[in-house]
């Protein structure tokens, strides 16, 4: 045992004092300042927009249309967001490529829809044709999601968080450009059956809506209910919840973890497939690049609602859809900002950032980040 260590006994008093400035709780201050700024901006923007001179103002029916399209958009987001939430719940991983899973479903169904449109089946038997189209999209998205899990994510089960995330970014790019190579870069027109065409409306509870919006909202609600029942009532659903709770314990209890994770991805894929067709029918177009923006928006929605929670994803999707549709005209028009809808993505990302800063657990979450 060597002796003769000559460490100084304690620091000199000069270094052991903290200045007054160093004691400021900087993070709190930033948060408060940020909150004031944002509330101020939102309040001012709203006030200015609503008090515009009558000829520049949006009339009530325009606002109503914004809200309805927001709800429909929210339905699509909700379905994609469920995929993020399911995977996050089970693997604690952001499946960045989920937007491309959605895109692939949309693309696959497009070719069938296109064939039915040219053969006339789409307008003669719109119900059957749509059923097949939905089935194809769901199947494709489901297969791609499972393949993704098997090839890209399974080898990384025990890696640090950033490794699967980077892989997922790679997978996203890979899938997007695979679609580009397979199907070509051009935007193609997604055929819509005449019964759901743009000017066809239904009036429900006194509200007149485009039929396609009704279809989107109804399918989204059905899918959320179906998923909730599946997760809460079935054996497989119980396994998924068990794996989400604690993977190791679940495997000790005899649950096949790999299979359960695969099923989770498959479920996410099925829902993304539905969303794919909804997107195609709503916007009437498809291209390899349609996955990214809705993907990010849906991720934002799932964080907003509380990632890991099914109800949260649905709620988050709805709220985000509304914010995107109503936010730009409401906040920016008053400031005379031209083309407010250009700034839609700014709203999305701002929502994401703000939720993560102020309430990382989301609306339905615990209010505390699970571990920062």
């Amino acid at each position: 045992m060597a002796e003769g260590t000559d460490l100084q006994a304690g620091p000199s008093p000069a270094t052991a004092r903290l200045g007054r400035l160093q004691r400021l709780p900087l993070r709190r201050l930033i948060q408060i300042v940020l909150a004031i700024l944002i509330i101020g901006f939102v309040a001012l923007g709203t006030y200015k927009t609503l008090t515009l001179p009558p000829d520049e103002r949006y009339d009530p029916s325009t606002w109503k249309a914004f809200v309805i399209s927001g709800v429909a958009q929210g339905g699509i987001y909700a379905l994609i967001a469920l995929g993020y939430t399911l995977v996050y719940g089970v693997l604690r991983m952001i499946n960045f490529a989920h937007g491309e899973v959605f895109m692939m479903g949309c693309f696959a169904s497009f070719f069938f829809a296109d064939a039915y449109a040219s053969s006339g089946l789409l307008n003669r038997h719109p119900f059957y044709a749509l059923a097949i189209i939905f089935a194809i999209a769901m199947l494709t998205s489901c297969l791609i999601a499972m393949l993704l899990e098997r090839v890209a994510y399974r080898p990384l089960r025990n890696s640090p968080r950033l490794v699967p995330l980077i892989t997922a970014i790679g997978a996203s790019l890979f899938l997007q450009n695979t679609a580009f190579g397979f199907f070509g870069p051009q935007t193609q027109a997604y055929p819509v059956p005449d019964v759901l065409g743009g000017d066809q409306t239904w009036t429900i509870l006194g509200i007149t809506m485009q039929r396609i919006q009704v279809v989107v909202i109804v399918t989204a609600i059905l899918a959320v209910i179906g998923l909730t029942l599946f997760i809460s009532r079935t054996r497989t659903g119980r396994s998924i919840r068990a794996v989400a709770e604690d993977r190791e314990i679940a495997s000790l209890m005899g649950i096949d973890v790999d299979r359960t994770i695969m099923i989770t991805f498959a479920l996410g894929g099925l829902l993304a497939g539905i969303a794919g067709v909804q997107f195609g029918l709503t916007f009437g177009q498809v291209s390899p690049y349609i996955g990214f923006t809705p993907g990010i928006a849906a991720f934002t929605a799932s964080v907003l609602g509380g990632i890991g929670s099914i109800g949260g994803a649905a709620l988050g999707g709805l709220i985000l859809g509304l914010l995107q549709a109503v936010g730009p005209p409401l906040l920016f028009t008053g400031f005379n900002i031209p083309a407010p809808f250009q700034l839609q993505d700014v709203i999305t990302f701002s929502v994401l950032v703000l939720v993560l800063i102020f309430r990382p657990g989301g609306i339905l979450g615990s209010g505390e980040a699970e571990k920062v």
Binding site: R161, L162, I169, G170, L173, Q176, F180, F182, V346
Partner: protein
Amino acid sequence: MIRRIPRVVRAGLVAGIVSVYLCLVGVVGSLVTNVVGKVTVGRVLLSIPAILAGFLVARPRVVSGDVHRPSVRAGVSAGAIVGLTTGALLAIFIGVVNLLGIETVRNVFIAVKPELMSLLTFGHAGVVGSVLRIGAEVALGAVGGAIGATQDRIRVPTVIAATVVISLGLLRRIVHPALAQLGLRDDWLFSVVTLGLTWFGAAAVFVVTFVTTFAWRANSAAIVARTHRTPATERGVRVVVLAVIGAGLIALPFLIGSIFSQILGTVGIYILLGLGLNIVVGYAGLLDLGYVAFFAVGAYTTAILTGGSRVTTTGYAPPSFVLHLSFFVAIPIVVAVAALVGLVIGAPVLRLRGDYLAIVTLGFGEIARVLFSSDWLKGAFGGTQGITAIPAAPIGNLDFRDTQHFYFLVLGFCLVAVYISWRLADSRVGRAWNAMREDEQVAEAVGVSTVRYKLLAFAMGGAIGSLGGALFAVQVGALNNASFMLLVSITALAVVILGGMGSIPGVIVGALVLIGIPGVFSEFEQYRLLLYGAVLMAIMILRPQGLIPNVRRSQELEEEDVAQDKWAGAVTADEQAAPVASPLGEGAG
């Protein structure tokens, strides 16, 4: 069920699926540069899955502790079975396409063209073509199997020689003019007809490389042992090596001509972006997906400070705020602005966990792009038309607009950035970043202000990245939002990941490969992003430490989470007052 299929057949199936994928995605049909004779890049790519699968099944295997090395004959036959399976899948693909008709399939898969089918069937219709394809795949698989099963001293030189031949074939566009500059004849090497290697040239290069590698591997140890080494000679060797590299870097643009100098300029810009991102991701462990924001800030700030113009319907107009500084006067301001933006972006996200941080920064990057190109800020940044007529960077008579001169400007900036990165890595600051990356909470507990060092990482990374943006503004002379897509962030990330996080040589190699190759090889451009995606996935799955790992970093990706989980475990054990605390429950790190 899948597990019951023999390994060899499974490998063949995977190779077959990959081959069909390569056909469908278009690389086989549309990469038509000749490598050797009339063998196109597409053909080379198509042959790789079978060879690789054959190679892998024939590699020695460890079976219950013993190394099981198949004989060459066994390797060949295993490879042949692999090839047969691969060929069968391709034959099925050919059959399906023929059955449905090329035109029908092409309505969906645009890459399925008559040229592709004739390439697959060697120009023979019907069954003959399919049989030829199967035969070819069997041969390729067998070759792969043979290489895999031979001993290292043959196998390694073979693989190296084959790689050199293919690379040389691909790099003709650079090598040919360079040789011409040096006054060397190369018509024996490159065919003037196919523009690929001649078969003679390929064989010669193969043999020379093989023999050299073989001899070096056999004798290198002896040669090194015989050389008398002293510190003085080592220093001498180092000086000579540096001098050679320096001379090479100076001569390079004149050897390769102005077109490739431009590509080198772009490579340099991405080296700068990579080095900056490397500080954020590699040193400090913060995954920033919005790095393009700094690139954009650098470019737009430079444009405005040096006096670019907006494009309007009536012609050019100055932006609402504009100075006419010299590029070199503007640079310090650009760097300061970027560092400031780094602080502003960093401040609100300080407490976010790694993966959330990534998505939020991605959001910031997109917000930056949308704002720069929005009609709202059109007055300042020119909206979607952007800013144009950005002056060059004049010193005396040089303005660095010419690509060969621009190269030197970039080179200078890169050297500075490399120096800064290198010095920072080995300093108090670098150690603090490393500690933070390895375990943020412990670093904090040991006395590192993680708030300050995160902000510092964002600011430093942003400052270096903005240099890339500034150079980009000079290089292209006009900016618009198409140059600042998310893609720039992802490319920079791929550059860092390919070489290895935290590794400076890794960034340089990453940029050369990922920017250089698609640049030189222009028909590859449309598959660039496919390549980046594949690289990101493959590296993370197969070799997370990257191609040229930072020694220290190498183990960490595997270890980090273990350590973090333990931390989490310790905290929860404490929080939940767990009845049993295990004293030995950690093999930490």
